[in-house]
Assembly symmetry: C2
Homo-oligomer: 219 residues x 2
DNA sequence: GTTAGCATGTAAGGAGTTACATGATTTT
DNA sequence: AAAATCATGTAACTCCTTACATGCTAAC
C-alpha cells in the first residue's frame, strides 16, 4: 500500500497549502506549474489523495457550500470533492520543507523542492542549492574521468552525446552559482520576465510530421 | 515475467553487438558510455539478461575455454558468464534500430537511440532527430501558453524554475538543429578528436576493451 | 590477513503508468 | 444533439530499485 510517494505527496501538500482544490484541478496545476519536469496521471493522483486523507493530512469536502442551491441531501450527484489541508497536514508539509538530506537534491526531488522555495526558509534553500551543486560536480568529475579513459575508443555519436550531456550539467551548475550568489546577497534572482514577444527569437517554426494534434490530457 | 524493458533491452543488445561481455562489465558500460542519462542496477540487468537468453537473442558462454585447466566437472566454481549476441538477437536489434515511432524520441528513449546512431541508417537518424525536435517544440508551445496564462500569479521561484526549464528545452532544440543540419550536409557533427573522413559514416565499429578500473559501483 | 573490487544473483516492493469505466457540464 | 472537457476512480501492469545473499581474486 501507500501511494505516499515522495514527490507527489510533497507537491500535493504544497499546492493545497496555497488553496483547497479538487483532484482534477490539482492535476492540472501539477502538470503546468511544476510540470516541466514531472507529469502525473490520475491513476497516481487519486490513490495518493486517498492515503493522504487516511493519514489525516487532508480533509475532503463534498462541494455543498451553503450558498449552493443544489445542496439538497437527495441530489447526491457525484459531487466534486474539494481537498483541504488540515493542521496536521500543514505540519507535515513544514516538516518535509525542512528536510535537507540527499533526497532534497537528487534529480527526482530537486525540481519540486525548488518550486516551493517560496515557502522554504533561507538556510534550507541554501543547503539544498549547495547540495545540488556538489552533487552535480561529483557527476562532472566522473564524466571527465570516464571521457579521459574512453576517448578515441568511442564513435562520434556517443562522444557527441556525452559532450552535450556534460554541457547540460555544466550549465545547471552555472545556474546554481547564480542562484546561490543571489541568495547570499538577499536579492531575488532574475525576476525579469524578459518578455518574449510574438517575434519568435529562435528560428523556431516548421511543423514537421507527427503532427497529430494531441495535447496532454493523458487520461 | 518479462524484464523486456524498452531501454535496457535495447542498450544490452546494442552493447553486446559490439563485443561479447559478462554482466558486470556490461553494467559498467551502461552506466558510463550511455549512463549520463540512465543508470541501471544489477537487480534489473541480470533478470533482463535472463529473459533475453530465453528469447534466443543472447547465448551464454560459461568461461571454460578448452585450454582452461580448471574446467573439471568438479570445480564448478561459479564461472563468469559471457553473453554473446545470437543471429536472432542481431536481427532483433536491427528491427529495434529501424523503429521510428514516438517511442524513439520520448525522453526515456531518445538518449539511448542516439547513442547507437553509429549503427543506425541515415534516414532513420533524420526521422528520430526531427521527431524529437518537433516533440520539444510542442512542449515549448505549451510552456509559453502556460506562462502567458499564469504570469504575475506565480512567485519568483516558480517563475525562475519555468524559465530555466524553457531555456533547457530551447537549448536542446538548437542542438538538434545543428545535428540535423550536419546530417543533411553529410558531415559528422562537431567532430571532436579523430574524425572519420567524408566517407560513408555508417559502420563505425569502435573496438573497445575493458581495461578500465574504478567506478561508482552503486550496488 | 583484510579490505576493495570483481562477479552473480533473488525477493520484495516502490512509484508510477495505461487502459478501462463512468458520469456531469459546457461549448459548438 | 454531438463533441469536448470536466470530474472521479480502479485493476493490472511496468520498469526499476533496495536490500540481501554469496563467493572469488587482487592488492595493501
Amino acid at each position: 500500500m501507500s501511494r505516499r510517494s515522495g514527490v507527489l505527496e510533497f507537491a500535493v501538500l504544497g499546492l493545497l497549502r496555497e488553496s483547497p482544490m479538487h483532484g482534477y484541478e490539482l492535476r492540472k496545476r501539477l502538470n503546468t506549474s511544476l510540470g516541466v519536469f514531472r507529469a502525473f496521471s490520475y491513476g497516481s493522483l487519486y490513490p495518493c489523495l486517498k492515503t493522504l486523507v487516511q493519514q489525516g493530512w487532508l480533509a475532503e469536502e463534498t462541494g455543498h457550500s451553503p450558498d449552493d442551491p443544489r445542496a439538497t441531501p437527495l441530489s447526491n450527484r457525484r459531487a466534486k470533492i474539494v481537498y483541504r489541508l488540515t493542521a496536521d497536514g500543514k505540519e507535515r508539509f513544514e516538516e518535509l520543507l525542512g528536510q535537507t538530506g540527499p533526497d532534497a537534491w537528487e534529480d527526482e526531488h530537486f525540481g519540486v523542492r525548488f518550486a516551493f522555495f517560496g515557502q522554504t526558509s533561507r538556510d534550507v534553500r541554501m543547503r539544498v542549492l549547495e547540495g545540488r551543486r556538489s552533487r552535480l560536480e561529483e557527476r562532472l568529475a566522473k564524466m571527465r574521468a570516464s571521457m579521459a579513459r574512453t576517448r578515441e575508443k568511442l564513435d562520434a555519436y556517443t562522444l557527441e552525446l556525452q559532450r552535450h550531456g556534460m554541457e547540460s550539467v555544466e550549465r545547471e551548475v552555472r545556474w546554481l552559482n547564480e542562484l546561490i550568489e543571489s541568495e547570499r546577497e538577499g536579492r531575488p534572482h532574475r525576476a525579469s520576465p524578459q518578455d518574449r514577444g510574438p517575434g519568435e527569437p529562435d528560428g523556431i517554426q516548421g511543423r514537421h510530421r507527427a503532427g497529430s494534434s494531441e495535447d496532454d490530457t493523458t487520461t
